[in-house]
Symmetry: C2
Subunit: 197 residues, 2 copies
Amino acid sequence: MTKNERVNLINSVGGYKSANLIGTISGESVTNLAIFSSVVHIGANPPLLGFVVRPIAAVSRHTYENIGKIPFYTINHVHREFIEAAHRTSARFGADESEFAACGFTEQYVGDFAAPFVKESKIKIGLEFVEEIPIKINDTILIIGEIKHLLLPENLLLENGSVDLSAAGDVCISGLDTYYDAEKIATFPYAKPNKLI
Amino acid sequence: MTKNERVNLINSVGGYKSANLIGTISGESVTNLAIFSSVVHIGANPPLLGFVVRPIAAVSRHTYENIGKIPFYTINHVHREFIEAAHRTSARFGADESEFAACGFTEQYVGDFAAPFVKESKIKIGLEFVEEIPIKINDTILIIGEIKHLLLPENLLLENGSVDLSAAGDVCISGLDTYYDAEKIATFPYAKPNKLI
């Protein structure tokens, strides 16, 4: 395999991934927005999400550097209406140019929370940085944050507390470049050993 | 919110998650199979995948304990045909009972690789444990493994090296209980700052 084919293979072989835009702000007040497919649930209480960055890669370096200085950031779901613009945030924009303006997204601020939310996203999360965990084997870092704000329309909240991702028009990703619509097929009860579902 | 509603909310708010069955074997040669939605891409070279376990939770404890003794495990994609059986592996089976037999999956072995693959899965990955990274804030652990085997039908490999997840019938998950079909909507080229896609 070529190097590119190998990158595509390994990036797709773990299965579908979430699609999120992470918003940050630099010490010089330049906002940054970058698409990530590595957001992972860490725990519900306290409410924690993680994501993996590779600081030597240009695309995620600004996100990492900004959080190091101003430890607040936002995670905003990607909906099918704006997948092209969301994908464009992965281009190597300069440190003095905001992907919000360059890719057509609108900054939204909530109270005195420092980081910009994406107005166009229906599900927006404001997080405070908690911990960075180095993954030494390949110089990546797991960034963990605690959820401080959660903004979503009430009609996306299901009775059991879950968010209805398909009603929001959320997409998922495979590899580095492919976007998918998702359609609900089943919800199952809590599983018990001696009972068929 | 009730405690359950809060758990459902935070488990769903990061977006869609991959659906994988992780296969392990104990020091007493009892196989274990458990569904995980926390598999995350760590890097392509070396080829690394991570997943998050909470060892105090009964469901993921056997997986964690087994890898601690026999450091090989498998990650097997979940397809729509067997989502019910896959979900059932999350029940609290005893340490002497294999979820393979209890939930209707077939063990498959490859060469002298110690851990069992899921025969029914079209995309199967054999990994060697590399590192466990404690996430102290909530007693979870990121387990990192290096891909040693990759088994899939050649017709699922796309020209650019990616795996065609929708052709495989892969599903994704939101929260703890909801399964989704995914349908490809777009593949975009590598993004550049001065070019619209």
